[in-house]
């Protein structure tokens, strides 16, 4: 821990706040452009930048003991490991065999919002659309 507290000039705060408002506007603007799956990547990048700016200036990480910054960067790294590797699944699912997605959608039919299907993906009639039927799937 640093012994003396750093006093941030008001100007820094105002610049950072302006940057945050600007990035918020960019987020809204970007949501209107269809970039396909890149939309979520862009939104996460902007949000990550904003969080980083808040931690660096508002939360004084820049002037604090460097161990705290290391822990902060480490936690961001773990989060990005989780998101990036998960995206290698969700973004490429069915890329080789499209039918690989079918079981996921078929199981999803356990939810009442989708019609139930049999083992071959054909819809079942409404009378069987009951939770008792669901259990037999397993």
């Amino acid at each position: 821990m640093s012994e003396e507290h750093h006093i941030t000039p008001l100007k820094t705060y105002l610049v950072v706040a302006t940057a945050l408002f600007f990035l918020t506007a960019v987020t809204v603007w970007a949501s209107y452009i269809d970039l396909g799956s890149f939309n979520i990547v862009l939104a996460l990048l902007i949000a990550g930048t904003k969080a980083g700016v808040v931690a660096t200036f508002f939360m004084h990480l820049l002037w604090d003991d460097k161990k705290n910054a290391t822990i902060f960067v480490g936690s961001l790294m773990f989060l990005s490991i989780f998101i990036i590797i998960t995206l290698t699944d969700t973004e490429f699912r069915g890329a080789v065999n499209p039918e690989i997605k079918d079981p996921i959608n078929k199981r999803a039919a356990l939810y009442s919002t989708l019609p139930l299907t049999d083992d071959h993906g054909y819809p079942l009639d409404k009378e069987n659309n009951h939770h008792e039927g669901d259990k037999d799937h397993h």
């Binding site: 480490g74 936690s75 773990f78 490991i81 989780f82 590797i85 998960t86 290698t88 699944d89 969700t90 973004e91 490429f92 699912r93 069915g94 890329a95 080789v96 065999n97 690989i100 997605k101 079981p103 996921i104 959608n105 199981r107 999803a108 356990l110 939810y111 919002t113 989708l114 939770h131 669901d134 397993h138």
Partner: protein
Amino acid sequence: MGDTNQNYLTHPKGIMSWLLTLDHKRIGLMYLFGGLFFFFVGGLLALGMRAELAAPGNDFVSNDTYNSMYTLHGAIMIFLFIIPAIPGALGNILLPLMLGAKDVAFPRLNLFSFYLYSIGAIFFIYVLLSGGVDTGWTFYTPYSTTSNTNVMSTTMGIFIIGFSSILTGLNFIATVHKMRTPGLTWYKLPLFVWALYGTSLVQITATPVIAITMVLLMLERLLGIGIFDPAMGGDPVLFQHFFWFYSHPAVYIMILPAFGIISEIIPVHSRKKVWGYKFIAYSTLSIAFIGFLVWGHHMFTSGQSVLSQIVFSFITYFVGIPTGVKIFSWMLTMYKGQVSFTPPMLYALSFLFLFTIGGLTGIFLGAVALDIHLHDTYFVVAHFHYVMQGGTIVAFLGGLHHWWPKSFGTMYNQTIANIAAIGVFIAFNGTFFPQFLLGLRGMPRRYATYDPQFVEVHSYSTFWSGILGISIFIGVMNLLWSLRKSNKLDPGTNPWGALTMEWTHTSSPPHPHNFEEEPVLTHGPYDYDKVIVKPTFKK
């Protein structure tokens, strides 16, 4: 001070002095007995399942009861016994002693962790008594969002216990960084401390994710937010990503402390300096890191993309490297040493055999093509029991036997302990090795009944599971029986002639403040080539 016979077990006295204690050793003992209680409960559930599986058909329990039994067996063993047992019990008792510290860095937080564990345990007892839960310990969606059993209470229990685990990890990291006695540099730390440190890193980075997962599952059940529902833009397989992003590193939360125990037992009982100290220390950290990158190997049949199958399978093989480094280092430590077949050493030797089988079959399962064939069969059941029971629980029993005289100042009957250890080894293999064969022949896990062609192998496994239960019971009862008053050892006793600070610098059982004066380091933890310590055994 003054009275050198004063020890933490008897001073201060009274039930409140235990319930409100800030002494890490007492908190460790409370974890120990809590953990052993749930080990007993989980063990009874296991024996109940094996009894049901002795013959095909529903002989004792209904399918629904059986579903509850395997779910609770898994959840109780993992969340209430294996994860907290080694760090919570042995870690709490030993970490400050090994560092020459008076206590952990945050004693009050330590007690709070124990109470969080207890509250989580109450949720589990409620679930146990109120009809159980049938999703399996993995709570996969979509079934867990629609099951009408006690999913909410169980996930709430796990959520709370998770915080106990995070706070213990945080406490241990701060303790290792800040509480070492002067002169105790990182490379002079006992390897058990390195193992606890690696475990703590995983605990504080991974455990928040299981908390998030459990909250998302509860929200999905209560409000139908749709994060796991494709009809609303969600993804049921995403649940498995969330779940295994914690639960695979959790495997290392369970096995790393066991590695630490083995790294302590083998040099002491071989009277030899540990071989490859830095290799063992760094392999702990690299296992902790690689453990974060391989979770998808639990999901090879979930329908995840081919790209991630390949990535996960490839990275999974890397876990074998630091693990192999450890196994070979332990073997080289024993080489040309004076190996004595004491009870802790027998457990450590069992560990080497059983864990190696568990680890190597893990490599089989890490290969996508083979895993698609073996997924959800008894091969997987056998594999993770070899790792979890043959690895972690056997190491825990070994550690318990090794540090029992230190914790309680009493020595158990070593002949009975040896018989129990050998019994555990034989009966464990008798129970679980046949399950590899069952899995290869296609027997799926989580079924209360089966095709009659499997009956010989299943009944063989059931027979040995009974012997296994009896062996563990004898081993633990032998320990508890040693606690009677007439059995007290001399406080200066060092029955194994060990060199780590908890044996050489304080009495058995230790003083309430651990050390009567600040300990001065005179030798490294494994300097058996330089210092000769004779085992002492005075009554």
